[in-house]
Amino acid sequence: MLISIVSHYVSNFPVNTPAIAEIRKTALNAVHRRLNARMVNFGGWDMPLEYSGILAEHDAVRHRAGLFDVSHMGEIEITGPGAQSLVQWISCNNAAKLIDGQIQYSGLMTSRGTFVDDLLVHKISDTHYMLCVNASNQDADYAHIVAQNINGKFDAKVENTSPRYSQLAVQGPRAAEILQKLTPVALAPIRYYYFTFGQVSGIDCLIARTGYTGEDGFEIYFAPEHSEKLWNDLMAAGSPLGMIPAGLGARNTLRLEAGMCLYGHEIDDTTTPWEAGLAWICKMEKAPFLGSDVLAAQKANAHGLPRKLVGFEMLDKRIGRDGYPVDAAGKEVGRVTSGGPSPSLKKNIGMAYVPPGISAAGTDLSIDIRGQKAAARIIPLPFYKRPQ
């Protein structure tokens, strides 16, 4: 049994650990261990997978709140007169549209119009942007951006500032109420995908109204030495309102229900924004940018896209998981990128790449579950939308 847990576990949570790298720890590692969390190597980081259980943590975030340590995420800061031009060149969304204090979801592009990573671009000012990137990609992202800025081409400075930040995510319908207890900053006026600087528990933070759960919530960035105090103060403020610590397991079920992409699953350096259903973050009017010529050609191609990302539901109790083949008319046409039980919707869901000709909602698919065919049907994304 153990062997199969480990192997499937790896398929759900890919590990891209460099062979000789020592496993990295966030400033809250001891806290997670004291809480008896089940720990896992996630992209080279020793992270909590679950504390009380994925279902309980998922439910808490949907109905009350959950507290996530996401300090493994990377931060890259771009400063200087050419900061905006560099951000515009490396990413596919239009950062020129941002006002100070605004955030956008974007893609860090290769010259082939595919994803080096997906990221959140925080505009602090015209001359200062903070990018929040995936943990396991942060070193590659930094090297990629530096290479694009070779010889000071953009008159901008690029710094990997990840070691200067811890990050906590307070997510769920009661997140604002909980965080408000600890900060003089009025949270209600901060709209979704905006941020401000302010103190939480007397500690200087960047307070962003963002998240990876499909719920309302905040992600706060601060100096790592304050991690335990902020964790403890947030738990003390949130526990009476039903907040519990939540791990990467619940983070994955929550983001899957919300139809959000996970790097290494739905997107990677072979997928384009068009294929991934991310046309809304790919703004051709700001071209040229890295890969924009390839993206323009793919968009104009009369034969259409080679594949499209779709959402599906299983039609019986079986579970189509990450990596399982998707069949149509008796042959393999794609793979499940992420799949599993949806705790909120009480059915089994997933995302997969299929040929565009069979990507319409309502199309029947067959998922090859360890050699057995199971019926599935394409349904619109996202699977879950929070009540407004």
Binding site: M1, S4, H8, N12, I54, R321, G340, P341, P343, R370
Partner: protein
């Protein structure tokens, strides 16, 4: 923790021998490793199973695990509780949440498996890897 009259496999299944009948389940350690169980897939009554061979699966939110039979025989009963309440495996893996009952080919076959003392030592060693 682990019932003294059961026998255990290295893949964390248990078998309780009751005359010519074997009752099979997964251990507390296994349910803990899996986390929240959401689906149990077992073959129907009448299916022959073989000691050491995979015959079904238990799925949790995060993983799927094949189940290997501790003994050889023919399935005579599936636990009706698990169709609607697979999470019982997390709550009571050793008693209420048994998986299948088997008519044993050889009631002495299970004697080769670990007893509770040996299995307890075995999982203590496995837990060190965490």
């Amino acid at each position: 923790m682990y019932p003294a009259d059961y026998r255990y496999t290295k893949q964390h299944e248990w078998v309780k021998i009751d005359g010519a009948v074997g009752i099979i389940g997964i251990t507390h350690y296994a349910q803990q490793e899996l986390g929240d169980v959401v689906f149990v897939d077992m073959p129907k009554s009448g299916t022959k199973i073989k000691a050491g061979a995979s015959f079904g699966s238990v799925e949790s939110v995060k993983a799927v695990s094949e189940i290997f039979s501790p003994v050889s025989g023919e399935i005579t009963e599936n636990n009706p509780l698990l169709a609607d309440a697979p999470e019982k495996i997390n709550a009571d893996p050793h008693v209420a949440a048994w998986l299948v009952k088997v008519k044993l080919d050889d009631p002495k076959e299970a004697a080769a498996l670990m007893d509770a003392v040996a299995y307890t030592a075995y999982v203590a060693e496995a837990a060190k890897d965490h």
